[in-house]
């Protein structure tokens, strides 16, 4: 699998050997009589991008919430960095080094980029109640971080976030998730509602997270994005594992088949009848 080839240029964050950073086994989650997740397994290695795909209601968000602590699992085990852990709240998840960027980004439009990056973790000149904020340090670190991530389209880090484009806002939200020094970053539909150029920006940023040695879980409806940036694709279908595929172009039909539940052969037949790009574009429309 591709994770074996993953190189960590920073050499700091990858665990030794090929043990997964995060391992979910037999995850169960029920809402009343509805079994939202049934015996789901997922592994994430350092320095790889795992795409989590599936139709609406397949359980992607529910699974993510069991990792981020927003909706703890009812059963199953979570292993992080080789240790069995329990994730009961967002605080637990944060403490382990798991950061999540949700679709609504949770940015304050009236604050500038630096202020948003440091929201809730402001740096102060002295550690006293009324100490002034250390704006110079925060601005310096913000510029360093954004340069490292090669977020270059910002005219100034003192621009109000409300004035930024969708891709820039997504970049700011992702950069902010890195300030807590996480090992795993969960991105929930980072390219939804973005134009072509902005999608490319965000996908490039995802690759840089991987290059930093982070494990990235990418949720997306957009298969062309997934194939462009992911190493491995995990399909969820009706709350169960629907298969796992390397993200190579020859797997496209198999992934589509796994998502829709149609057998690969009949998917191929359908694809033969209709030119392949339109299959993908039909799927793309789903995200709207």
């Amino acid at each position: 699998m591709t994770h074996a080839a993953a190189v960590d240029p920073l050499g700091a964050k990858a665990p030794g050997g090929a043990a997964p950073l995060l391992k979910l086994q037999g995850i169960q989650k029920t809402f009343g009589a509805v079994r939202a997740l049934d015996d789901v397994n997922l592994e994430v290695y350092a320095g790889e991008v795992v795409a989590l795909v599936g139709d609406n209601g397949a359980g992607k968000s529910t699974l993510i919430k069991t990792i981020s602590g927003a909706g703890p699992a009812d059963g199953g085990t979570i292993t992080f960095d080789g240790r069995d852990v329990s994730v009961r709240s967002p605080t637990d998840s944060k403490a382990l080094g798991i950061a999540a960027v949700y679709q609504d980004l949770a940015l304050c439009d009236n604050l500038d980029v630096v202020e948003n990056l440091y929201l809730g973790r402001e740096e102060r000149a002295h550690n006293q109640p009324f100490s002034r904020l250390d704006e110079v340090a925060m601005e310096q670190h913000a510029i360093e971080l954004l340069n490292e991530l090669q977020v270059k389209t910002l005219a100034s880090v003192r621009t109000e976030v409300g004035m930024l484009s969708g891709g820039q806002r997504q970049s700011v939200a992702i950069a902010r998730s890195l300030l807590g020094d996480p090992k795993i970053v969960i991105l929930d539909e980072p390219t939804a509602a973005l134009g072509v150029a902005q999608t490319a920006q965000v996908l490039a940023l995802v690759s840089r997270l991987k290059a930093r040695g982070l494990g990235v879980i990418l949720i997306s409806h957009n298969l062309s994005d997934v194939f462009e940036v992911a190493d491995r694709i995990v399909v969820l279908r009706l709350g169960r594992n629907g298969g796992e595929y390397p993200a190579t172009d020859d797997q496209r039909q198999a992934v589509v088949a796994a998502i829709t539940g149609v057998s690969a052969d009949s998917a191929k037949a359908a694809a033969a009848a209709v030119p392949e790009p339109s299959v993908v574009s039909t799927l793309k429309k789903d995200q709207a």
Binding site: L107, N110, L119, F130, L133, E139, Q140, M163, G195
Partner: protein, 405 residues
């Protein structure tokens, strides 16, 4: 949607062209320099009244104006804090009345010293703020409702505290001094000089720090312009009021409070959290900001400022009566910051708006008094200016909103 980055790029490209002055003018037109615009409005009002009555821009009248706005302006400081959260506090007038009644009764009827009586008044304000903030955050009741209930209840409490007498005349000189003491002429100059020197030093330090860190500097011209403007305002103001009785203590208190709260809002973690909660409270909550605590503290500060404003008003009137804190005080103390560009939806505004808004409203009222207009006309004109200022704001900031993605 995909056109958005081009728009932003275009805007930035446009923003970086031209001289600093033409850039400033453009930003003024775009509504990004709210306080500069209210200064233009204020200048217009002053020119109109000066043409109508040459007594308007005299030392005596302008000194009276500062005394007239001290109480409203102080209450407005707290109102700005609440507006920044996107909330409203309708009880500030009633709280100012109750706090001044408590202070007066303790001082006059119970023989408390002026300072302990005033502290007790402020404590009443703080306690009310904590109560209203806690009720609203814990029970998730809109602050509009909580403070509306407060408006009624504290008015009742004021009547109760004042008892049968109805009016209490303040005799303690220390309380009366707040509105009747003027700085000696030389002291006024000295204070202005110290403040200007402090501003220059702080700007130099700020620039040196950013330079050392290799960060982008604001153009030297804009720093110089800002400092010159501040110096002109300070020395000019001292020059004018020294033509009469000198700098009123009440004005020093108001400007001092505005400066302190401005620093609190823009330089500290707490201030940043206030803007964050006002901008997007869900984002603030997820970033780990204690949203309920921030809200409660803001309501406490607002009620404390209201109490202080009430004490200033009592000092000027030299008495507290049943209508103290009533009438149009609440409405004017909210209208002021709104005229000066504070957003009712939270997250945008400056505490300087409290001072500038109070100046605009005070000038209208003062000027119309000079021209012997009836209060019927006064109210209608103030209402029209409020609507006009907000309409101007909406028209210019519309351009800003449509740029958002």
């Amino acid at each position: 949607m995909s056109a958005a980055p081009q728009t932003v790029a275009e805007r930035d490209a446009v923003d970086l062209t031209g001289s600093p002055i033409s850039r400033t003018l453009r930003r003024l037109a775009a509504g990004e320099l709210g306080s500069l615009r209210v200064l233009v409005v204020l200048a217009l009002i002053w020119i109109i009244f000066q043409i109508a009555n040459s007594n308007f821009l005299t030392s005596v009248n302008l000194t009276n104006l500062t005394l007239q706005i001290a109480a409203t302006g102080t209450i407005s400081v707290g109102v700005v804090l609440v507006l920044l959260l996107g909330e409203i506090d309708l009880s500030v007038g009633a709280v100012s009345g109750l706090a001044s009644a408590v202070t007066a009764i303790l001082s006059v009827k119970h023989g408390w010293s002026a300072y302990t009586a005033m502290l007790a008044g402020l404590a009443v304000g703080a306690a009310i703020g904590i109560f209203q903030g806690t009720v609203s955050t814990r029970l998730a009741i809109p602050t509009f409702v909580v403070t509306l209930a407060g408006l009624l209840a504290w008015q009742g409490a004021q009547l109760y505290v004042l008892g049968n007498t109805g009016t209490v005349n303040i005799q303690d000189q220390a309380i009366l001094n707040l509105a009747s003491v003027f700085l000696a002429h030389w002291l006024g100059w000295l204070v202005a000089a110290i403040v200007v020197a402090g501003l220059v030093l702080s700007e130099l330090g700020h620039r040196r720090q950013r330079g050392k860190a290799g960060l982008v500097q604001a153009p030297v011209v804009s720093s110089v312009l800002r400092l010159v403007a501040a110096a002109v305002a300070l020395f000019g103001g001292v020059f004018i009021v020294n033509g009469d009785r000198g700098v009123p203590l009440a004005l020093v208190i108001l400007v001092g409070l505005v400066a302190i709260f401005h620093a609190l809002l823009t330089r500290t973690k707490f201030g940043r959290h206030v803007f964050a909660v006002g901008g997007n409270d869900e984002a603030a909550r997820r970033a780990g900001i204690p949203v309920a605590r921030v809200r409660t503290i803001v309501f406490m500060l607002a009620s404390t400022m209201a109490a202080f404003g009430g004490i200033l008003a009592a000092s000027r009137l030299q008495a507290v009566n049943q209508s103290s804190g009533g009438s149009d005080l609440l409405l004017l103390s909210i209208a002021g910051p709104v005229i000066a560009g504070t957003s009712l939806f939270g997250g945008r505004g400056s505490v300087w708006g409290a001072l500038l808004g109070a100046l605009v409203i005070g000038s209208i009222s003062n000027g119309m008094d000079l021209l012997a207009f009836q209060s019927s006309v006064k109210f209608m004109v103030t209402g029209a200016v409020l609507l006009g200022a907000v309409a101007l704001d909406a028209a210019t900031s519309g351009r800003r909103i449509t740029r958002r993605t």
